[in-house]
């Protein structure tokens, strides 16, 4: 069949087209983050094995197959290791594919790296910017063509960002790649990127869009279902832009957002969405887990374990997604479950169970071991009866018999876990002491990373020493704190930095714990519920301030606000009562509240009246008449305050309605409604016109609503008669 190969060689379709200018790529072999510590203290991130192959091989293999001819590998942290690895690998011996390393010791960010590359003056055309931890099988042909065509029309189109559709639920980013939710605004016609926000404030549940954005563009689409693949096609200007703006550090946070808000130079960034091909970046332990599993499930084809895309040993794919190297020693009673990779030279003992895991080369696994969802690198010894769940175990680790690794554990190189020891979940264990300077916060990282580099190099120095010691001496003589990892254990358990524990589960290799997940889902559902039940919530119900409903927005929000407003008014009033604040000051305070909550005078009146009645209710009383008396006293005292807000008839009616409401809800007030109404009239808080109008309004109401109207019937009757008399008198007077 002549055509079966077609799909496999995507990306290499027209080498002639691409050959005119040698295609270049910059590969940043340093992520400039510390998410993979403590492992990255000893080995650079790009050399960490991903399904038994160092990550950088995936990136290089992809670049090579995508038709890139020249790659500049920028090495910073552990640059020696990276360069040594590349030199010993076959990457330097590839025809039509040149790999050049650029070494730097003082770069602390992607920005510094690009500035250095600019100084070297090696890039002379459009280039691909990628970091060495990206796995992809996409074809670059189309995106390069699009980029070039745009450049011809508009020289300001400096960058094309590759994006991919991700699943649209709210917990997507979190659960798949462990990254924050990403919001993008894209012009649907030109695919221009207009807005990029990856650190949206979840508490607020809102994003900020510039009004100009909407004014300048005829149409924009706002996405939160896109995933940034961290593959960029850049024009040479990008490098000079980095040089011009020496404060640009982070590729996304500074450069991309900087270009987006900068409207003086008018540089434009475009997006290219990939559909069927795969692209993702390993940002943290969770994405390490996810991408490993995607590789095992062959989404990254042809970059899968059984295809020798580069330098990996031969592995055969068996049923149910089981990958096994040819030379393994597996006991017949061992059960190796689906989606597992076993590297060559590994020995597995009796009745051991392994599922959804990756086991490296030369490991020896004892009997009765259970390994689930874990990543075990090379030359690891796991003795009998151990239990490993969702752990990352680096090279040379020894887990002594009966030890248990709970979900999320990371054991760095050559750690020894003592017998029967239980390593608590999310712990990170290393032979190296935790650096005192905790820079888990990325923002801080740039600031202190210059120090960090020195620190790293000194640490690597000590690693060498340590390793020497370990090999020279038996473990028992080492003065490891035995308490930390059980008897015979070696390594320091890193303390989790303050505030970090909460975040730990987000980036961990372990699945999200059920409670956190239900929390996340609940949070997502909460928002949903609000949109549906906003109306039916009880008025006094506890509502979150961040209810960002869409449909019943106005209703829900105002209701929400009223409750808060009333509470605030009440609090202000009570303070006034207790601290004897003068009425004028209370008015001032209530006014400021009114402004901040955007309320009208009637609301203030209602609120204040409610507080007054509550105060009256709280004064000790034995009978209804005493209650009326107390109310009268309170009303008399605060008449002036209340009156301030009763400039109009409408506001007075509001007070009556409020009174009705209070009487409805409070048993004590119910029988004395008419009396209080009379008192209000008597104290000249309410004019008779308001009462009569209220009566008129109530005429068409339900019987149930008329309870209080009936109660006050006599009084109203009297009022009407009185007014009629007055009118008559007036008429009489007129007649006279």
């Amino acid at each position: 069949m002549g055509t079966q190969k077609k799909g496999a060689s995507r990306g290499s379709e027209d080498p002639v087209e691409l050959a005119r200018v040698p295609l270049q790529a910059i590969l940043l072999a340093d992520s400039f983050t510390t998410k993979f510590r403590p492992i990255t203290l000893e080995r650079p991130k790009v050399l960490l094995p991903l399904v038994n192959v160092p990550m950088i091989n995936y990136t290089l293999a992809w670049l090579e197959s995508a038709g890139i001819e020249e790659v500049f590998v920028f090495c910073c942290a552990h640059s020696k290791q990276v360069i040594d690895y590349l030199e010993s690998s076959e990457w330097f011996a590839q025809p039509n594919f040149t790999v050049t390393t650029i070494e730097s010791h003082n770069s602390v960010s992607a920005g510094d790296a690009l500035r250095l590359i600019y100084e070297r003056n090696v890039i002379n055309g459009d280039f691909v910017l990628i970091s060495g931890d990206t796995v992809s099988n996409m074809s670059l042909t189309q995106v390069l063509q699009e980029h070039k065509e745009r450049r011809k029309k508009d020289s300001n189109a400096v960058m094309t960002v590759v994006i991919k559709r991700s699943k649209p639920s709210q917990i997507t980013h979190q659960s798949r790649l462990g990254t924050d939710e990403l919001f993008m605004a894209i012009d649907p016609n030109t695919k221009q990127l207009l807005y990029y926000e990856d650190k949206a404030d979840h508490a607020k549940g809102s994003i900020y869009l510039d009004k100009l954005l909407l004014a300048d563009n005829p149409s924009i689409t706002l996405h939160n279902d896109k995933q940034d693949c961290h593959i960029d096609i850049c024009s040479p200007e990008v490098l000079s832009l980095f040089t011009d703006n020496f404060d640009y550090q982070h590729l996304r946070r500074h450069f991309l957002k900087g270009l987006l808000v900068d409207d003086i130079m008018g540089y434009k960034i475009f997006t290219h969405e990939i559909h069927s091909s795969y692209a993702a970046r390993i940002d943290n332990f969770r994405s390490y887990d996810t991408i490993s599993k995607d590789i095992i499930q062959r989404w990254t084809y042809p970059l899968v374990p059984d295809v020798k895309f580069f330098g990996n040993s031969s592995i055969k794919l068996e049923r149910q997604g089981m990958y096994r190297a040819s030379e393994i020693g597996q006991s017949r009673s061992a059960q190796i479950g689906p989606f597992t990779v076993i590297g060559s030279g590994t020995k597995i003992g009796n009745t051991t169970k392994i599922s959804n895991s990756v086991i490296g080369e030369g490991c020896s696994i004892g009997s009765n071991v259970s390994i689930e969802g874990s990543y075990i690198w090379d030359n690891v010894t796991i003795e009998d009866g151990c239990k490993l769940r969702h752990a990352i175990v680096c090279d040379g680790v020894i887990v002594k018999s009966g030890a248990v690794l709970e979900p999320g554990v990371v054991l760095s190189f050559k750690v020894v876990v003592g017998q029967q020891f239980i390593v608590p979940s999310y712990s990170k264990v290393s032979l190296l002491q935790q650096p005192t300077k905790q820079d888990s916060d990325e923002e801080l990282e740039y600031a202190d990373n210059s120090g960090g580099i020195a620190e790293i190099s000194s640490i690597t120095h000590t690693v060498g020493k340590l390793n020497g010691e370990i090999t020279n001496q038996p473990f028992e003589t080492q003065c490891w704190p035995t308490s930390e990892l059980g008897t015979g254990g070696a390594g320091y358990v890193w303390s989790i930095c303050e505030g970090g524990h909460d975040e730990e589960w987000r980036h961990s290799v372990a699945p999200i714990p059920a409670d956190k997940l239900s929390e996340a889902i609940h949070a997502a559902d909460d928002d949903l519920e609000l949109t549906q039940d906003g109306r039916s919530l009880p008025p006094s119900g506890e509502l979150k301030p961040d209810s960002n409903d869409s449909e019943y927005d106005d209703d829900g929000e105002s209701r929400d606000d009223s409750i808060y407003f009333e509470k605030e008014v009440e609090a202000t009033f009570l303070r006034a009562v207790h601290e004897n604040i003068t009425v004028d000051h209370v008015i001032l305070e209530v006014n400021s509240l009114r402004l901040s909550y955007n309320k009208v005078a009637a609301d203030c009146a209602g609120g204040l009246f409610y507080s007054l009645m509550k105060l009256a209710l709280e004064t000790p009383h034995d009978s209804a008449s005493e209650l009326v008396q107390a109310t009268t006293n309170v009303l008399a005292k605060w008449k002036k305050l209340l009156k301030y807000y009763l400039a109009e008839i409408d506001e007075e009616i509001e007070v009556i309605l409020k009174l009705e409401e209070i009487c409805e809800s409070t048993k004590e007030f119910a029988p004395v409604f008419d009396k209080i109404l009379y008192q209000l009239y008597d104290l000249e808080v309410i004019q008779e016109e308001a009462i009569l109008r209220w009566d008129d309004e109530k005429k068409d109401a339900d019987e149930s609503d008329k309870v209080f109207v009936k109660q006050a019937e006599k009084f109203i009757q009297w009022l009407r008669e009185a007014s009629e008399e007055e009118e008559e008198e007036e008429e009489e007077n007129d007649e006279e």
Binding site: M1, G2, T3, Q4, K5, K6, G7, A8, S9, S12, A61, S65, Q94, P95, N137, K164, R165, S166, K167, P168, S169, T172, S175, R176, D225, H275, S276, S277, Y278, R286, D289, T290, K293, D294, Q297, R298, W299, T300, Y301, P302, V307, K308, F309, S314, K316, L317, G321, P338, F339, S355, N356, E372, G373, R389, H390, P407, P511, I512, A514, L517
Partner: protein, 416 residues
């Protein structure tokens, strides 16, 4: 040798990255590479030059097969080249021996063990010329120990006057390999030539997916003024049937595209199924693009002839139950469904279990020999039961176990 090594590396990389398209192309490139290797091979020792060549080709062959075990054509060509070397050496020696008027019985006795001539292979070889002769319709009265090619036979005799140096052997081998390359290049035409005999007027022919051999075959019938209809099953998940349908329609053939799932509904109207395959196994079964078994079963149900067109380079001397044969290639699931759409079903972080949704995308089906009615190869039409004869003609039994490294000579598996 350095540049040869470079060539081998280059080709192995290309193979492992799945950059060589199509088994014919792969076969041709493999043969050309082996030709270069043979021509560059220095003949140091005159006694066992053939053995040296065999070892070299074997080594290279193993590398290439390892690079892409799914593409069986590589192994086929390597084995055929090995066979050619053995054959040429044998006929050269036979020529010498004939000249010095020695009996063929004694000649075998004198064979050195190092020359890989186990008795089974020898007996096969003695049998072969007659079978090949009948196949190709050549004259049966050729001398049994001679090579079928009369001209070459003549050559050998001519050369034999000079010292039967390694050069002669090399030259003969080169010529034979050139013939092989030529065969691979022209196999489509050879197959297409038989189209008129197989496709009749006003017939309906069904095919699945896209195969260049099938396309040439159908077009050849069209060029010979046959008017017939073609039904193309689209060949999910790659839908290369669409490409074929376009190409056929451009050539003026009445073409109908159907979904793979409607093959059974259409088959009763079809007079013949013509398909291309990935490989033909030694038992007459075929490895073909997914969906082929279904088509074959439908054809069997309605007693429609199921014709496989395949060049001889697709003829694999291994049996499908051989553990060395990598029967299938699990391809990227994104050919079936978009990752973005379904990524929420493939969440690994929720719960402790693996994702509930798995997507499998095998590239090939195995169609058992019972379901195949006829093979149309560049050497003519054969039934599945005849494939073993073709195999014994093109391959020598010693080369079957190409991948078993460091196997002692005596343990050569003669059990086909």
């Amino acid at each position: 040798m350095a540049d040869v090594q470079g060539l081998v590396n280059d080709f192995a990389t290309k193979l492992s990255k799945r950059k060589v398209e199509g088994s014919r192309e792969t076969a041709r490139m493999t043969a050309e590479l082996l030709r270069t290797i043979i021509s560059q091979q220095k003949m140091t020792s005159s006694t066992n030059h053939a053995a040296v060549l065999i070892d070299t080709v074997r080594g290279v062959g193993r590398r290439l097969i390892d690079a892409n075990p799914v593409e069986l054509a590589v192994g086929n060509i390597v084995r055929r080249v090995l066979h050619i070397i053995r054959e040429e050496e044998f006929s050269l020696q036979a020529g010498e021996l004939t000249l010095s008027s020695q009996g063929s019985e004694r000649e075998i006795d004198e064979e050195d063990d190092k020359l890989f001539l186990s008795s089974a292979a020898t007996s096969q070889r003695i049998l072969r010329p007659t079978s090949l002769a009948t196949l190709l319709g050549s004259k049966p009265d050729m001398p049994p120990a001679c090579h079928p090619s009369a001209s070459r036979n003549h050559d050998i005799e001519g050369k034999a006057d000079k010292s039967p140096s390694s050069l002669t052997l090399k030259r003969h081998i080169m010529e034979a390999v050139n013939d092989l390359i030529e065969d691979i290049k022209t196999c489509h035409e050879q197959i297409a030539d038989q189209a008129v005999e197989l496709i009749h007027q006003n017939e309906v022919v069904l095919t699945l997916g896209h195969s260049r051999t099938v396309k040439k075959f159908l077009c050849a019938a069209k060029e010979k003024k046959r008017s017939f209809q073609v039904v193309v099953a689209e060949g999910a998940p790659k839908y290369l049937g669409h490409v074929l349908a376009k190409g056929l329609a451009a050539k003026g053939l009445q073409t109908t595209v159907i979904a793979d799932s409607s093959v059974f509904a259409m088959i009763s109207r079809v007079n013949m199924v013509v398909v291309g395959v990935h490989a033909v196994m030694a038992n007459g079964g075929v490895i073909a693009p997914v969906g082929m078994n279904m088509v074959a079963l439908a054809a069997r149900k309605h007693a429609v002839p199921f014709v496989v067109v395949a060049g001889t380079h697709k003829l694999c001397p291994l049996y499908p139950n051989n553990p060395e044969v990598l029967l299938n290639d699990m391809r990227c699931p994104s050919e079936l469904l978009s990752f973005g759409e379904f990524s929420d079903c493939m969440d690994f972080s929720i719960g402790s279990k693996a994702p509930l949704l798995h997507v499998l995308n095998p590239a090939f089906d195995y169609v058992p020999p019972e379901l195949v009615s006829l093979f149309v190869t560049d050497t003519g039409g054969h039934t599945p039961s005849f494939i073993y004869r073709l195999i014994s003609e093109f391959y020598s039994a010693d080369d079957l176990a190409l991948q078993q490294k460091l196997l002692p000579e005596s343990e050569h598996s003669n059990s086909i």
